[in-house]
Symmetry: C2
Subunit: 442 residues, 2 copies
């Protein structure tokens, strides 16, 4: 509020309001640099975390163009990183996506193996934005250092909790992710890193972020980063206990739930789980009615939710996906209220979904050994519900063939098999859509 | 303030705070589109006016790449437009800068003559940001329409006063220029205009402005635009009278002043003048001490001020340049206080500057007909002061040769000649710096 009154002027101007704005900007830069762990002249403010990522990747790639045009990213980066990688590929560059394991983490050795002589830049998030899994940044940074490749760390999810350790070369973050205002991102570029800003430039922010600085928001961003950091250690312990409670109790309270992400190496305030036989959007709306604002990585039911590339890369169930973000200050009683409400909400959604599909969709019975389920035209979670209904109808060793044209089935049918201990045989093209083959094991 | 409380959530989310944010965003877009005079789906919010210009130019050029890579801009566009033109040129495109007359206006016919078969885009500001001159946008738009070339109008200076008439194709503006918050620009792209957004994209703002929307600022921007528009007509009359008063009285109160810009076709609240024998930075600091916050297009004395490309293109004096911006609500008594203070301030600066150069710098006396003044190493306004001191020492018809290595002399010596009715003969390279030749006429 104070910076709205004090910081409206142009810091490039010489009159007193401009000089005051310059002082505020300098002070904000120093505070932010201290929190990041870099020099003030290595850090610029951008209009958003996304713009920090886009500018950082474009500038680092251009700065090392002579070395090569190979870019490495993890498969679970924020979309801003993946969009920048897409743009690089469209421009003739090459991109390697490093896979993640079932909890969403890259393997540092596997990441290092992607490094090659023509690698211009590698990107790795400090922690995942959907499932909270912390990435092995220090090990990856060490491998990049040894290979002479700069590492850009997207620290959007973790900067409020503490600085990113390890020898990163570039770092991007977003103020609204640590509870600061929208309209401010950070881009830090270590001295010595080759960097060539792309696009039109001006004299602001060392030529790395064009346009009139959003000074009130920048001041608020720096102040809020300092404020959340002051309570980060204590709050991390408290939120970690609350998310641990959710991780432990949800599978006991709700049948057929998969909690995803690393149980140990994770952010304090994010917890994500997926519920079989539930569509994410309906679940989200029902929770909203109960006054819980959650996100979902499901693509069920309607086009308003897009399937999560993170859950896909992890190979875990996406249907009925719920992502809880507990901001600092979240009260224990709200968590308890959520845990009390969830079972009824999920049961209600399942009941609703169960009804329209109660008439068997089994069309062809090929002897006793194989069943075909036609789920064409039906959206997630219907194909999985149909599969679950008929798996008991074939003998152990028999197969069910699920026909589906819903993209989510590709992820959710194998995930269901893993959860249920059934064998996922594979997929093959069908006359319409895709056929997913499941063998009954138990 | 209300939108900081109400509009913090992500408008892409489905929970109630997200839906409320979406409603706020939609309402802001409708209000802004109405003020611009376009459809809501033609308008996106960007992080600044500069980003709107950069994205608009890049997208329009890419959209018409098959037509050609020729870009037309006026010579007095905002630096954001010229930077985008530089980037286009660096990328292999061609750029034509259309000159302006002595009041800073382009000639619509001359602008039209720059159009050619390979022209992808033309850019013209609605009004100039330094001298307030209004450009003939409607005529230029008509010529562009006839040639099938889209016209991008940088309306940053004028949008608060009213919509831009004429058949523009793209329009850019900046909220903080109309008294709104920093962090918000507008980019309108008319339906049917070929447009290919450049750089990494995301799903926000129709793929034309990536990154989390700065919703509180967007809401405040739309509200403030509506508010200033409600009083624009009345306030324009009042401010125009105040700036007219400054334009008329400054030359009477202060000797050797040139008021610049169009006396009629101009913005209500901007007035710019240049004072001979004064350096802009000292003048600015002295006015600041008297509680007036003004800008300057001078490059005198130190590197903190860069020479104005606008004054240069107009061919007017840049030394001792003062730009007054009267925001809506400026009080008459403040204008009177300024007019009362200015003569003393200018006189004081002139006295200070006169002292160190009182010892004649005349080095060589080549007969009676020619004098050489060595002003090498001396910054503006010293070269002009030296010239003025010795012009009386040569007979009518005689010449003074001023040696200078200050870039401002190239602009200010011809401008002084025009103000003083002396003949500017031309410049030629000297052993050090440049020699400027002036013939005494009167």
């Amino acid at each position: 509020m104070a910076s709205l009154d004090e910081g409206w002027a142009d810091p490039a101007r010489l009159y007193k309001e401009g000089r005051r704005a310059r002082l505020l900007l300098d002070a904000a830069r120093e505070a932010a640099a201290e929190a990041v762990g870099c020099r003030p002249d290595e850090l610029v403010f951008t209009p958003s975390g996304t713009r920090a990522v886009h500018s950082g990747i474009a500038g680092a790639l251009a700065g090392r163009r002579r070395t090569g045009r190979h870019l490495i990213v993890s498969a679970v980066e924020h979309s801003s990183v993946l969009h920048a990688a897409d743009a690089h590929e469209a421009d003739g560059g090459t991109v390697t996506q490093v896979a993640v394991d079932r909890v969403g983490a890259v393997d540092a050795r596997e990441f290092a193996e992607a490094l090659r002589p023509g690698t211009a830049l590698a990107c790795l998030q400090s922690a995942n934005h959907e499932v909270g899994t912390v990435q092995p940044v220090a090990e990856v940074a060490e491998a990049c250092r040894a290979a002479g490749v700069p590492l850009l760390v997207d620290a959007a999810q973790s900067l409020g909790w503490g600085p990113v350790g390890g020898g990163w070369s570039l770092l991007a973050a977003s103020a609204h992710k640590w509870g600061g205002p929208p309209g401010v991102g950070l881009l830090a570029v270590r001295k010595g890193v080759r960097f060539a800003p792309q696009g039109p430039r001006d004299e602001r922010e060392s030529g790395r972020a064009a346009g009139f600085e959003n000074l009130p928001a920048i001041v608020a961003a720096a102040a809020s980063l300092r404020a959340v950091r002051a309570e980060a250690a204590e709050e991390a312990v408290r939120l970690r206990e609350l998310t641990e409670r959710i991780r432990a109790r949800v599978p006991r309270l709700v049948p057929d739930v998969e909690v995803v992400g690393d149980p140990e190496r994770r952010l304090p305030g994010i917890v994500t789980f997926s519920c079989l036989y539930v569509d994410g959007e309906t679940l989200l709306h029902e929770l909203d009615r109960a006054d819980f604002s959650v996100s979902s990585g499901s693509s069920c039911t309607s086009s308003t939710l897009t399937p999560s590339h993170v859950l896909k890369a992890m190979g875990v169930l996406s249907e009925g996906n719920v992502r809880l973000s507990l901001p600092p200050g979240t009260r224990e009683e709200d968590v308890e209220r959520f845990l009390a409400a969830l079972p009824g909400v999920v049961a209600g959604v399942r009941e609703k979904l169960g009804a329209p599909v109660s008439a068997g969709e089994v069309l062809t019975r090929e002897g006793d050994e194989a069943l075909v389920v036609d789920a064409l035209g039906r959206r997630c979670p219907i194909p999985v519900i149909e599969l679950a209904k008929v798996i008991g109808d074939v003998p152990v060793g028999g197969t069910v063939r699920v026909l589906s044209d819903d993209e989510a089935a590709r992820l959710d049918i194998p995930a269901w098999c893993a959860m249920r201990g059934q064998e996922y045989v594979g997929e093959e093209p069908a006359e319409r859509g895709t056929a997913y083959l499941v063998r009954r094991v138990s």
